[in-house]
Amino acid sequence: MFRDVWTKTLWDNRRSLLGWAVGLIGVTLVYGAFYPYMAEPGYADLLDTLPQGLIEAMGWEDFTSAEGYMGAAVFGVLGQVLTVVMAVGLGARMIAGDEETGGMELLIAHPVSRRRVVIQRAVSLTLSMALAGSVVFLAVLALSEPIDLGIPVGNLAAASFQMALLGLVFGALAMAVGGIRGRRGLVVGVTAAAAVVAYLADTVAPMVEALTWIEDLSPFDWYEPTAILRDGVTTGDALLSLGVVVFFVAVAAVAFDRRDVGV
């Protein structure tokens, strides 16, 4: 059976992971399958009638090209929301959720340090998000031929990877908040609020001239699916996201190590 916290945590979350994998595959296949209809000329005319601001906010500037459509539909709003929600749910469970249901107390009464528990749980979260990215990638890959997508496999992998990484940023934030305070509801609330603010910062703030700088601070800005599908991994953004993940996990480990557990 399981020798480590991270393998056990993955196993304990197996049902939830399976559910998310099925959901992500379903959404990817359904949205992807619509691409051939979008490539027809009528839709370009339809889009022209929409306000420019809305089009930019939704990332529909280039809805009729393969990269534009996939970047807006599969790897866009819906994919991002699903990935972030999945990551926040898992991240909140890693410390705060487990603490509220009593499992954490028993675990850290064993000969494992709290920092080790946090790090192993972060590994578990990372692998869960890797799974999410992988199933999206495989689903798009499976569709690629039938819908005549024509996007290089490497770029599909890059977009899947960076979408999973976007989720991981917020999952790690949920762990950091859980490290500070062991209340699952609070963790989900704070993290979800942060995600909404970050999303608005990436979509709405750029419309106001004075607020464009805010955009750079948003993890959503570090993930531009259409550009990634066209040109591959945006290395700087990916490294920045990874750095933020490491920072959040470190905050979780240090904060959790310092406080009372289960009060």
């Binding site: 020798r3 304990d12 009593g102 028993l106 009464a109």
Partner: protein, 301 residues
Amino acid sequence: MADEAILTSRLTKSYGPVLALDHLDLEVRRGEIFGFLGPNGAGKTTAIRLFLDLLRPDSGQVTVLGLDPRAQGVELRRRVGYLPGDFTVDGNQTARQLLTYLGNLRGGIRRDRIEGLAERLDLDLDQKIRSLSKGNRQKVGLIQAFMHEPELLILDEPTSGLDPLMAREFLTMTLEARARGQTVFMSSHILSEVQKVADRAGIIRRGELIAVDEVEALRAKSLRRVEVTFDEPVDASAFADVRGVSDLVVEDGVLRCRLLGEADALVKAVARYRVRDFISEEPDLEELFFHYYAEGTDGVS
């Protein structure tokens, strides 16, 4: 190596404005069974969680097996078996899966050790924990605390949920642990349960330790309610001077009183009449506390 299994000095913990533990000075010797008695909310669980580094004290010191819980927590917890007061785990696994995993966190536990304990406690290891009754879940908790034969067992309300037969089996397990040289620290709100096995007991109330004594001495000071129903008319005066009896009332052939310490004198006095029923209640911890308080304030021994 320190002689004490647990040693605290002025250990204090509060949750916001609520003082949960107030300058606790406690010494638990190696190789003894120590009962930690107090009503719910007295601070027992808080103290226990401080021993294991689940909580951090506001002030004061604690060492467990000579180790500092904060700095040497991993080493300490390797040598301790802990049963939480509220043993809750993910129900979506079998008892065997959970116990094997917890054993692996300790570097592996022999399979037959887990199975032997499960057999003693009459627990089916292959049922999902979710489907187990409260008592059977408690058995899983006991097994994980005992299975690695730790130097020190810290058990928070270990018999809660157990039926009387299993509670007795558990008490036998603690005696066997002591015979092997293990130390047992168990909290309870029931005096008689601790009394059966413990060498010494401490009594805590509102975060303050108000007494530590040999269990026999506590028993001698314990106050219980007694009710005797007679088949013939009796007169209260016949019992007024019996040793240990107070608050005596006799009406309609029923005697009610409070009894301090051993029952011998009262039983012999009652035996002169025809007795239909004799009920001796569990000594009430609260009343024991009042007795100690009275002693503390009046200086009566």
